[in-house]
């Protein structure tokens, strides 16, 4: 294949998110076969640019040519999908944390159409080269940050891409892992010199490694050159300085972060320590996250916490704030033992957690005010603090913006402002500058130094940046839950005879890690004889069953990893079936009634005894007058009041005819109707009753009263008129819709929220492959649930299945497609899991419970409700379920309902596929 001279070219590309412009008329050409670095602060459009080049984001304006084709063209995107590898920002964001390393890689391999043996060979090779081989069966979520990035790289390289895009691959990764990562990239490039690489990074010292640099700011390209040229252009000695110089349009600012050393002013370390930890230990199950950690932090000191990802820094900090109880050991803050219940200590502590944890939906001002109020600063003090902090943190012009709309660096400033609003004595900051560009980090540290030196605030901070660690008064190195060393940064450097703190760090950690046997296994990643050229498989266009099934297999694995969810789905629906079947009864029994007998004759007593002796009615204390009748009906005590008029017996004996009045509580119309029919029935029973039953009413048994016609009702399908055979088969249709629809909707929304949907954006996966692949799993779950519920109806409820079980199973299959299809459709309308749950529940519960013919036939409904009932799959499945169970119907009788039911699934699914975007906005 001939290499293009340019791997990508952008012409006047602009991109906006709402009102905010991310890119402004960018024109840029990226040379092929080289490693190009994209540098610049957060929010300048680096990620947007990469997303556009990779085809993951939808182009709004301008032209993007990648690998010699227009990225606005669907066919070109599909054709080159297999030649591009894109690793999005965020630690392991596109990885499946509940799958093992091997399963992750298998999945990516299948997406790019690699066969079984080829996959195995490549996985073996890549993991040996990256040192991940021993951990193949570990869950991706349990990997350290550095390992996650290596796994991300393996996933990206699995199909031998021509163009590799890495978006901030080393952000939040410790120095040792970072170093290993870049060595790996160098080795891979040495093996595949033709491969083009585009990397963005916030670490300026890394930028020096790249062949070519593109410096960006505010959506524009500032400069484009190789690192040496960039430095000489600006007359600076490092890329970081060069960048700052470019940003300021002149090399005026001398105090760039890399030049600064710890401040000369020493903290006033006297008295008891601000924070003291002794043998602090935390276990999660049999995993020890923090192992017997001890340290003292003096008042006013800036204390740094360094260590690889997952080494226990965050856990330690959480224990100090009382968020997590310690398994063993103790900690004191200002001499007070840390106590989760102690609100007073909390007033003296400010905490900033690793992830942005303010309320994105509130504005900057609202966030600040909320915290001021929760700390009860009072109006005057709040105003004073706001007046002080807002300019100091440079937030003036953002006060009314929603916090979620701010770029990362600004958000971190806001987080810090919030953490100090109550003027705490201690600040605990968990990686506050992760992902923040050098300029913003420098500003941030200026604020910290200010707080420490001027206001005597004790600062406990964790970081991955060596230049930040150098600014701490003292620091601890942590690894695998243990503190390796605690001292001043310079003493730590001296203790290892290292040139820099980073070297000392790497030295300390390397001593802890047993040498990996695979480390020297070589980096022979280049395809050799055992690995066939997969260029044909990499052609991403067209539908691929293999990719579809890859999604199915992956989803099935993930579902199996969450047994609680499965148990909820199966046990929950079984339990509901039993409760509802026994609980819902359409019979009305024990109707509470009372009588107002104004006659008290043998005739009236005989008449009333029919009601009193019946199981349908339950007599309450008799009524004395009409007012009481009204009152007791109103109170809800009675559902029925019978009133016998005075002279009832006498009138009957005279043959004058008499009238009994029955007043029924009509609040619940359905129930009132049933009661009415029972009362009429009992009344008819008296009229037709044999003379012997009520001798006092003999007078009624005259031929004149007899009915002229005998109506012979035959109750078909359910001769005993029992509730269970009627209700039992109509409950599964409800459960088999609601559960699958919601599970399906949440499953897709989760991918959107967590970010794994990126794998769909950047691989040659088709829309149908992605959605139907996932859907198959939930169809399977629904069918399994169907089997369980059917067995319960037959065996536990004792409702025999008279009809053809195969027809019922067939209907369940197409019903499952409809239910999951509805879930897919809902998930297309929602961006988060919360709204997916909310929308799918609210939209499906009503038509399913009310309009599907469960309680009343759809034919009894009116207006829009009837339309909704007709256009809802449950209605038709309900007809088939009831039809097969109680009516014993077969395929010929049910074909009409079955055909209608079959239509729903494909329509829902097709709509969802049409609504799904192949690119991010």
């Amino acid at each position: 294949m001939t290499q293009p001279a340019q791997v990508a070219r952008l012409e006047r590309v602009s991109h906006r998110y709402g009102k905010a412009a991310a890119l402004r008329e960018v024109t840029l050409a990226l040379p092929a076969g080289r490693m190009v670095g994209l540098i610049g602060p957060d929010g300048v459009g680096k990620s947007t640019l990469m997303g556009l080049i990779a085809g993951a984001k939808r182009l709004q304006q301008g032209r993007v040519l990648t690998l010699d084709g227009d990225m606005a063209d669907v066919r070109h995107r599909a054709a080159i999908g297999g030649r591009i590898a894109y690793m999005p920002q965020g630690l392991g964001r596109n990885l499946y944390h509940d799958l093992s390393l091997r399963e992750n890689l298998e999945f990516f391999g299948k997406l790019f159409g690699l066969g079984r043996t080829e996959r195995a060979a490549r996985i073996d090779r890549l993991t040996r080269a990256t040192g991940l081989y021993p951990f193949l069966d570990r869950l991706a979520g349990k990997l350290s940050g550095g390992m996650k990035q290596k796994l991300g790289l393996c996933s990206a390289l699995i199909h031998d891409p021509d163009f590799l895009l890495l978006d901030e691959p080393t952000t939040g990764v410790d120095p040792l892992s970072r170093r290993q990562f870049w060595d790996l990239i160098d080795a891979i490039r040495a093996d595949r010199p033709g491969m083009s690489v585009l990397v963005s990074t916030a670490y300026m010292e890394e930028a020096a490694r790249f062949d070519h640099l593109v410096a960006m700011n505010a959506g524009r390209v500032l400069a484009e050159a190789d690192p040496q040229a960039l430095m000489s252009q600006t007359g600076t000695g490092s890329v970081g300085e060069a960048y700052v110089a470019l940003l300021q349009s002149g090399p005026s600012r001398a105090d760039s972060i890399t030049q600064r050393t710890p401040d000369a002013t020493e903290p006033v370390a006297s008295g008891e320590p601000a924070i003291r930890a002794r043998a602090l230990t935390r276990r999660f199950g049999d995993f020890t996250a923090v192992d017997s950690v001890s340290f003292d932090i003096a008042r006013g000191e800036i204390f740094g916490f360094l260590g690889s990802n997952g080494c226990g820094k965050t856990t330690t900090m959480k224990m100090l704030t009382g968020l997590l109880p310690a398994s063993k050991g103790e900690a004191w803050i200002f001499g007070q033992p840390v106590d989760a219940q102690d609100l007073e200590t909390r007033r003296r502590v400010g905490f900033m957690s690793q992830s942005f944890s303010l309320y994105g939906e509130l504005s900057v001002r609202e966030n600040l005010l909320l915290h001021a109020r929760l700390f009860h600063l009072g109006r005057a003090l709040t105003d004073e603090r706001m007046a002080d902090l807002v300019p100091r943190f440079g937030l003036e012009s953002y006060l009314d913006q929603r916090a979620e709309a701010l770029p990362l660096g600004l958000r971190q400033r806001l987080s810090l402002a919030v953490a100090v609003i109550h003027a705490p004595d201690i600040l605990i900051l968990d990686e506050p500058t992760s992902g923040v560009d050098p300029q913003a980090r420098d500003d941030f540290w200026r604020l910290l130094l200010d707080l420490s030196r001027k206001e005597g605030v004790t600062i406990f901070i964790s970081t991955h940046f060596m230049d930040e660690a150098l600014r701490c008064d003292r620091m601890s190195l942590m690894h695998a839950g243990r503190v390796l060393v605690t001292d001043t940064p310079s003493a730590i450097i001296r203790s290892r005879d290292a040139a820099t703190l980073e070297d000392a760090f790497v030295d300390y950690i390397s001593a802890e890690i047993p040498p990996e046997p695979s480390a020297d296994a070589g980096l022979a990643i280049a395809p050799d004889d055992t690995i066939s050229n997969c260029s044909s498989a990499r052609d991403g266009s067209g539908f691929s069953l293999r990719r579809l099934l890859a999604f199915t297999a992956r989803e099935a694995m993930q579902v199996r990893r969450d047994p609680v969810r499965l148990a909820f789905a199966f046990l929950g629906s079984a339990l509901l079936l039993l409760i509802m079947s026994f609980g819902i009864s359409q019979e009305v029994r024990n109707i509470p009634f009372a009588v107002l007998d104004q006659d008290r004759s043998p005739e009236s007593r005989a008449y009333l005894s029919t009601f009193e002796d019946s199981a349908w009615f339950r007599g309450h204390a008799p009524l004395l007058d009409v007012d009481e009748l009204k009152g007791r009906l109103a109170s809800g005590e009675l559902a029925l009041a019978l009133q016998i008029p005075p002279r009832f017996g006498a009138d009957l004996r005279r043959g004058a005819g008499a009238e009994v009045a029955a007043t029924i509580d009509g609040a619940d119309t359905g129930r009132a109707g049933t009661i009415e029919s029972y009362v009429s029935g009992a009344h008819a029973h008296v009229l037709a009753g044999p003379a012997g039953a009520a001798p006092a009413l003999d007078v009624l048994s005259q031929p004149a009263a007899a009915a002229p016609v005998v109506l012979e009702p035959r109750f078909r399908y359910n001769p005993a008129m029992a509730s269970l055979p009627a209700i039992g088969p109509s409950i599964p249709p409800l459960l088999l819709l609601l559960f699958p629809a919601i599970l399906m909707a949440v499953s897709v929304a989760r991918e959107k929220e967590i970010g794994t949907i990126t794998n769909f954006y950047v691989t040659p996966t088709g829309r149908a492959e992605f959605l139907i692949g996932k859907q198959l799993v939930y169809i399977g779950i629904t069918l399994l649930n169907f089997a369980i519920l059917t067995a319960l109806v037959v065996l536990v409820l004792g409702v025999p299945l008279h009809g053809d079980p195969l027809v019922l199973a067939l209907a369940a299959l197409v019903y499952a497609v409809a239910a999951t299809g509805f879930g897919l459709l809902v998930s297309m309308l929602t961006a988060t899991q919360v709204t997916a749950v909310f929308a799918s529940t609210i939209l499906s519960v009503m038509p399913t419970l009310q309009f599907s013919g469960m309680m009343e036939p759809v034919s009894s409904l009116d207006g829009p409700a009837r339309v909704m009932g007709t256009f809802w799959p449950t209605t038709w499945y309900m007809a088939i379920s009831v039809g097969t169970f109680t009516k014993g119907l077969g395929l010929t009788d049910l074909s009409g309902a079955l055909i209608r039911l079959t239509a729903f699934g494909p329509v829902f699914t097709a709509l969802a596929i049409l609504a799904l975007r192949k690119q991010e906005r």
Partner: protein, 374 residues
């Protein structure tokens, strides 16, 4: 005082969160306007538009007279069929009743032989079958009497029954359906909103942020419960005034303020259940399943879809723990029977108590859920 002000400020934050999400607002409006209208206006009588077929082997004026008396709104216009067609139509669910007149039916009636007319009933829907049979039986007998005498009241039996409906004299089914539908929307929204607010806070890590401030779990939980209550109660009141009383023209026998007050008490209980589920679930998917498992019994066993006293005793005892059952009893009493506080205070106390129990239980889970989320 400080605690109250904490709750107040957190409450304000929660309100902004809910109302700041347009999807949520649309779904709330959908529930309280569209869904209530749909459900209530769609309600028919138990027997309404019932499909009926006539197998008329008599073809007399009596059989035709009876057929024409089977009329809307209870019955669809009867369809004439032969016996085979009728059997098939019933099997496929197109027809619910088949009334058959034998040959010489009218002649036998006139001769006083009391001939038999057969009525086949699809008994898979029990209450429709029962009621429909009663209606048809009444119509057949009274039409026959009228046929015999030429006057429908001529041969009245000596003892008659006068049926009256209290509180809804015209037995308009929309009234009850509107109120029970409002209850369903209340339950669904409140439980889902409160629980989701809890889970969202945990998934976004903001709950940790709250827990390092001088706030107690009670304050955080209370603010969420109160915010949901405020949003849903406003929607409920609006829906009651403008949809139920306005568009659907349901008269309120009792005091609207009392009804709204009772709804507030119910919301407290429902929100506490939502909070309980929110602290119990570890992921959104689990929460969704829990909501479904709870919402189906809450809606179906409250008495809105089948009377409570017809439930088996054991289920009746279980449903005592459902606040929705007490709220429906309360709402029926106030809205239709015009009951005052003196006759519904028991329900209010029960709902408040159940809410308290769920709230305390969710606080106990609160700390536990904190350590699970990390």
């Amino acid at each position: 005082m400080q605690r109250l002000s904490n709750v107040f400020w957190l409450f304000g934050k929660e309100l902004k969160s809910v109302l700041g999400d347009p999807v949520m607002v649309i779904l709330i409006l959908w529930s309280f306007v569209v869904a209530v209208m749909l459900e209530a206006s769609g309600a028919g009588d138990t027997v309404r538009n019932a499909a009926i077929a006539i197998v008329d082997e008599d073809q007399s004026s009596l059989s035709r007279q009876i057929s024409s008396a089977l009329a809307p709104p209870w019955f669809q216009t009867p369809v004439a069929m032969n016996p085979d067609q009728a059997g098939a139509a019933m099997d496929t669910g197109r027809i619910m009743f088949v009334l058959s007149f034998p040959p010489n039916f009218a002649a036998d009636v006139i001769a006083g032989k009391a001939p038999a007319a057969q009525l086949q009933v699809d008994a898979t829907a029990v209450s429709q079958a029962q009621l429909g049979t009663d209606y048809i039986s009444n119509i057949v007998q009274s039409e026959t009497r009228a046929f015999l005498s030429g006057n429908p009241n001529a041969l009245d039996p000596p003892l008659t029954l006068e049926l009256r409906r209290a509180f809804n004299p015209n037995s308009n089914p929309v009234w009850f359906k509107a109120v029970s539908s409002l209850l369903n929307q209340l339950s669904l929204l409140t439980i889902a909103l409160t629980g989701a607010a809890m889970l969202r806070e945990r998934e976004h890590g903001t709950i940790e942020h709250l827990m390092v401030m001088p706030l107690t779990p009670v304050e955080v939980a209370l603010a969420k419960v109160l915010a949901t209550m405020a949003v849903v109660l406003t929607a409920f009141t609006g829906s009651l005034l403008f949809v139920v009383q306005g568009a659907l023209q349901v008269p309120m026998a009792g005091s609207v303020p009392l009804l709204v007050g009772g709804a507030a008490v119910y919301l407290w209980a429902a929100a506490a259940i939502g909070m309980f589920l929110g602290t119990m679930a570890r992921s959104m998917a689990q929460f969704a399943l829990l909501v479904i498992m709870v919402i189906i019994p809450v809606i179906m066993l409250s008495g809105g879809m089948g009377a409570v006293e017809s439930q088996p005793d054991i289920v009746q005892r279980l449903t005592l723990a459902l606040p929705s059952r007490h709220f429906l009893a309360f709402a029926k009493a106030v809205a239709f029977r015009g009951a005052g506080i003196e006759s519904v205070w028991v329900e209010l106390v029960l709902m408040a108590g159940l809410g308290g129990a769920f709230f305390v239980a969710s606080l106990a889970l609160f700390r536990r859920s904190m350590s699970l989320s990390s």
